[in-house]
Subunit: 196 residues, 4 copies
């Protein structure tokens, strides 16, 4: 399996997911500001999910950059990740339409958690395929972001049933943690280039 094709397919699917998500922002019947108001939480959910998917796209790219050979397990781990990402438009729409009610807000976190787990599996398989001198392992270092995120998602899922504000705040927090550009892989790649 060619790495470029895997990359192009993943990019295509993420581009489609990020774009069809906007279809959940249904055109209201009516022309007044009042008809827009119930759409506000849908829009906010959309913004949040847009950022999450952009982060995944960005990190996924960096991760694949270190990959040499696409094996069967890596291929399916990648599809597994795309599967969970493909459910984000649904959970985004449900959370937005119900104005961040308990269960929809929790389900939103569950899908994010599963995507994070899928990302972790894919990362582990790539590292394993690279052997001892794995570039990706060096690059991610302690991977504190990757380890902290699932814990925060879990807290948010439980918190959603108490206060959806806490859950929302955690979702925003995790996005912010990742938004800070992840220069680890770039740095290690540059180091290697420099040492040649």
């Amino acid at each position: 399996m060619n790495k470029n094709r895997l990359e192009a397919f993943s990019d295509g699917v993420i581009a489609i997911i990020i774009t069809i998500m906007v279809l959940e922002l249904k055109v209201p019947h009516g022309e007044t500001a009042g008809t827009l108001k119930p759409l506000l939480p849908v829009l906010l959910s959309y913004v949040l999910s847009f950022i999450y998917l952009a982060i995944y796209w960005n990190n996924h790219h960096h991760m694949l950059h270190t990959l040499h050979q696409v094996t069967g397990p890596i291929l399916w781990a990648n599809l597994h990740l795309l599967f969970w990402l493909s459910l984000i438009p649904f959970t985004t729409g449900w959370m937005g339409e119900n104005h961040f009610a308990e269960l929809p807000t929790a389900l939103y976190g569950i899908v994010l958690l599963m995507a994070a787990v899928a990302y972790f599996i894919l990362q582990t398989l790539i590292i394993a395929s690279q052997g001892r001198e794995s570039l990706l392992r060096k690059a991610i270092g302690s991977d504190w972001k990757g380890k902290l995120s699932p814990v925060l998602y879990l807290i948010a899922i439980v918190a959603a049933f108490e206060s959806h504000w806490v859950a929302k705040a955690i979702y925003v927090l995790v996005a912010l943690i990742w938004l800070v550009p992840d220069r680890r892989i770039e740095r290690v790649l540059l180091q290697r280039e420099g040492s040649k």
Copy 2:
């Protein structure tokens, strides 16, 4: 016709099919767990079809890898395959929404059967275009998976009217048969590289 463009177009169509399928998972009106319950069979159908489309994408890629020249018949055989694959979101949605009722479950199998036939036609044309020393023919060997699948689909289509559990079990079985990574083409390609 350039092979890369055929590949890119096919990938694009499959990426779109796999992603718009999730639009059948309609956001429910209501925030309780009860509103999610009727969506469970839709989700299960989605998972099954996601796996089928991923398998097609994967095998399609391996098959095209052996192709040298895109002829008119190969081009149209490929479009014919994409046509049947494009109907999968419809049959997935209908089967899911009707909780695996008889006719929807049978129709799901009919479209899978037609896609398998279309795949077989495409494969036969590529082998014919490669002449005696066809790499693809060597690679697929006895092609027992390709021959068994249509038979299993036929059994599932008939079985759907008796018990949708049997039909569903067969659909899952065929997916599992194909999920086992198909190393045949890779192996033959490697052999050829090695003998050079």
Copy 3:
């Protein structure tokens, strides 16, 4: 403007058009064969439009193959073609849902006619950009298909108000005329390669 990017963008748009068209095939509420019956004309319209879009994709590729430099007018003539193609899912859905009624059947032809005109404009601009020794002009020769199609569309549009069977037959006829692979451009390209 890079030719590859124009090609990739056009391919992307055509791939999306051909795939979202299937969304007009709405999943029916009900599990009996009776609920499928009204979908039959929608399916037939879909098959017809799928073939038309596949033909456009194929011929568009051959035409761009002869192109050297993307000028502003060529860029916009290409977008103009994509615009008319993007209306095909709408006219397909309307014609199918109304079981080939007069006006929808005529409108289907009007959009096909406009797409053919847009294709002709694009072709003319490419030929003009290639100067006297235009490869594309040689390749299309008398271009009898390109000249006959608009006439047939016009007849079909008028005929739709008398008998939708005649209109449908003409649409199928035009598709068949084009389905015969257009080897003209390939032949001229091969000749040029051979004479080198």
Copy 4:
């Protein structure tokens, strides 16, 4: 981050936005010309937005052509632009369905304004990354189009509450200003090539 992948992802998203926008042109229930009439403003909005997105795609391509290295801020400025473009199908549909009523027409302009601002930020970041001898800064010159457009959008947004005709006229005017092919970047690129 590889420039080609950024370009391909942006192209993919724009191609999807431009195409799913046509889904707002809902197939009417009924076969008479009367059922089409309320769709006319939706179609006109679609044409306008199609042209806007095509302009963005075209100029975006020229701008990225001058880019050497994708930095984190450029990546996110690009995603920010795609976010505002992704809202265009929604504002297009709302404006069209409400026959260019006050608020929808104003909102249409607000999203265009935000997209223009996002484009300006991206442009500024690319220029900054290129240092003193920025090719892009030379290419855009005084950038009068880029500076005039937001002013015109602002006027249109205010005018929408007085007369939607004025607002519409301004939207068409801005599109026309940009439709005139922007040869500035091409010219500067050619000059550089010539001086080598």
